[in-house]
């Protein structure tokens, strides 16, 4: 199942190295393909390099796309991670 949801970066420091690693580690637990869309670019959420190139600062709206059998669970986990400000704030 393909799910698409918009999420906001709420931690003050944005998606820097630590949050990027946290996203990768979360996504790797699921079978689904997860991509993040922002300002015309589309990156694989299992890639630290990809996430860093987004340069998503605090307040940025990102579109998360999950495709696969466990897409609901994957989306919920990613949503929780974003909402927690990646455990930083």
């Amino acid at each position: 199942m393909r799910l698409e949801e918009s999420m906001c970066v709420v931690n003050r420091l944005g998606v820097h190295a630590r949050p990027a690693a946290a996203i990768v580690q979360t996504v790797l637990k699921f079978q689904s393909e997860v991509h993040i869309l922002h300002a015309g670019s589309r990156v694989n959420a299992k890639s630290i390099m990809g996430l860093l190139t987004l340069a998503a600062t605090c307040g940025t709206e990102l579109t998360v796309v999950c495709e696969g059998d466990d897409s609901e669970a994957a989306m919920a986990a990613i949503k929780a991670l974003f909402a927690s400000g990646f455990g930083e704030d």
Partner: protein, 596 residues
């Protein structure tokens, strides 16, 4: 011809051996067109598999030898090796550009590095080193480069290089690394921490030493003095050999004379001798014999060289291991003493102009209560396994102490609600390292359970001297009466409030300051493990009466140099009491610890 290079001594001791120029990273690779992209992709896949096997083997070895915290860096490298963006981009380029993998890996690596260098986020810059490190491994496999990596060295050598990637340092074969002489890095780098913990003499900050010495030339590394001598003449080698022998024989002698268990002055005053620990591997079985506990357990190692914050579980594991290893002796865990720059991205926040006066340690923790609470929870959980003391760094005023205690109270309330076990009587102390804390020491003493004086920062802030700056380093004077009065005042305030006052800074490790500190009212000294036998021996040979007389003179002296000389001469004499008169005597200050 003999040449000297001055750097920063980050790990004491003397090494003499031939230079091994650490490979560093390849700058040039062959470049050619390929006919069959599928065959080339297969070749790349084989090299990546071999790299993965290397990293996994290193991970297991490092985890077994040094612990999981040190192995984390290799996990980060595995993530990069299999990073889909990189892997897919490489595949695409092999197919479209039809060039060899070495050239394409190098090309993509350079692009990624450039991308990361554009950022001012220190965390991203660390990833840059990791990307270079991983690519280099792949390229070496592609080229069947047999040149020994540091970890595969057989013959003992002195390693010379610009810097050692962290993954190399955790995996070096220690038996073959006599010493380190590196262009980059400082006393607080992860490589320096490891070198000290592993007892490898090291000097860093040597500008371009690598360009001035050839592989195989003889080098002397004097980690205490921060000096490297290339192609030393016979007389110099003989001199350093005898210093090294003297240091070794001193070490054996003091280990015999220092006694075990509680430490006392000659006139029977108990002085607590404790150990400073920066890495888990420093908590050795022998520590329980020469130390009465850990007076400073630094937690920074948990936060270095990694892309993620350590979890509560991971921190708890590390603390619990130390508490259990000390088996009933107190472990003083200092909450993280790192700058906010370890966590922030420059997006929106410029790098600090003056980090020493900036957003670090407790200031950072109070602004990031979730990160702080994770650590406090881990410490509280560890306190159910044995005596733990908690210590806050960089306290400049009463409100910070109260705020920190309030956060701790919240975490305690959480534990109470859950019925989770912890030590309700866990002492909570503070570092005294900012002059303002000394000025209000009486107020602080009423609201905490112990003081521990961090002399390095206290001296730097009191005298406004950056010791790392050559032009003013001579003004960094531990025996300056202003510094000594600060220590006296802090100790007096602690005594009036009936709480212990200890010293955990570098002054505690240097025997020439032992009498001064005791005379100023300090009753606990926490130091590097290697200094314990020497300082304990000295404590047992001095009397409080003599120590007080020396301190009284020092407090009124106009010339710190004179007091320093007198104190050193007294320490040397007391320590020489039972020395074999034929043995060369090692200078005390060569053993002085480098800046923590």
């Amino acid at each position: 011809m003999q040449r000297e290079f001055k750097g920063i001594g980050v790990s004491p001791g003397i090494a003499i051996g031939s230079a091994y120029i650490a490979g560093g990273l390849r700058e040039e690779v062959p470049e050619y067109e390929i006919a069959d992209p599928e065959a080339e992709l297969h070749r790349l896949g084989v090299a990546r598999d071999a790299t993965r096997a290397d990293l996994e083997r290193l991970y297991r070895r490092t985890e077994a030898e040094l612990g999981r915290q040190h192995a984390e860096i290799l996990n980060a490298h595995l993530m990069l090796l299999d990073d889909v963006t990189i892997v897919e981009e490489l595949e695409k380029r092999v197919r479209t550009k039809r060039r060899n993998s070495e050239a394409l890996v190098m090309e993509l690596t350079r692009e990624n590095v450039e991308l990361l260098e554009g950022s001012e986020d220190p965390m991203l810059r660390e990833r840059r080193d990791d990307i270079l490190d991983v690519s280099d491994r792949i390229i070496r496999h592609l080229m069947n480069d047999e040149r020994a990596a540091l970890r595969d060295l057989e013959d003992p050598v002195v390693v010379v290089g610009s810097s050692i990637p962290p993954s190399e340092m955790v995996s070096v074969n220690l038996k073959s690394v006599l010493g380190l002489a590196l262009d980059h890095g400082g006393a607080t780098s992860h490589t320096a921490l490891l070198a000290r913990a592993l007892g490898v003499p090291a000097v860093m900050g040597l500008e371009e030493l690598g360009n001035h010495v050839a592989e195989g030339v003889t080098l002397i590394v004097d980690g205490g003095a921060g000096l490297v001598i290339a192609e030393p003449d016979a007389a110099t080698i003989a001199r350093y050999r005898s210093i090294r022998e003297a240091q070794e024989s001193d070490r054996r002698r003091f280990r015999r004379t220092c006694g075990e268990g509680p430490c006392k002055t000659r006139d029977g005053v108990p002085i607590e001798a404790m150990a400073n620990v920066a890495l888990p591997i420093e908590v050795t079985p022998d520590l329980r014999h020469v130390a009465e506990g850990i007076g400073l357990y630094r937690t920074e190692f948990l936060f270095l060289n990694r892309g993620t914050l350590p979890s509560e579980e991971e921190q708890y594991e590390a603390y619990r291991q130390a508490v259990e290893a000390m088996d009933g002796m107190p472990v003083t865990i200092r909450t993280m003493d790192i700058g906010g720059d370890k966590f922030i991205t420059a997006l929106g926040r410029p790098r600090e102009e003056n980090p020493q006066l900036g957003w670090r340690a407790l200031r950072f923790c109070l602004a990031r209560p979730e990160i702080f609470k994770t650590q406090l929870r881990a410490v509280l959980r560890a306190s159910s396994h044995g005596p733990v003391r908690m210590m806050f760094p960089m306290v400049s005023g009463l409100s910070e102490l109260r705020e920190a205690r309030a956060v701790l109270d919240e975490v305690r309330a959480e534990f109470d609600r859950k019925g989770a076990p912890y030590d309700r009587d866990m002492p909570v102390g503070i570092m005294i390292e900012i002059p303002s804390a000394v000025a209000i020491a009486d107020m602080l003493a009423r609201e905490c359970d112990f003081f521990s004086i961090g002399t390095n920062d206290l001296i730097q802030y009191t005298l406004a001297v950056d010791r790392g700056n050559e032009d003013v380093a001579n003004l960094y004077q531990p025996a300056h009466p202003a510094v000594l009065r600060m220590i006296r005042d802090a100790a007096a305030a602690a005594e009036r409030a009936d709480i212990p006052c200890e010293v955990c800074g570098e002054m505690a490790s240097a025997a020439r300051y032992t009498e001064l500190l005791l005379g100023l009212g300090v009753r606990g000294l926490s130091m590097s493990a290697f200094a314990l036998p020497r300082v304990r021996t000295l404590i047992s040979r001095t009397t409080l009466k003599d120590a007080r007389a020396l301190a009284a003179r020092a407090l009124e002296t106009a010339l710190p140099e004179d007091i320093e000389a007198e104190a050193k001469e007294r320490a040397d004499r007391l320590l020489a009491e039972d020395a074999d008169s034929d043995a060369p005597f090692a200078m005390e200050d060569r053993h002085a610890a480098p800046a923590p």
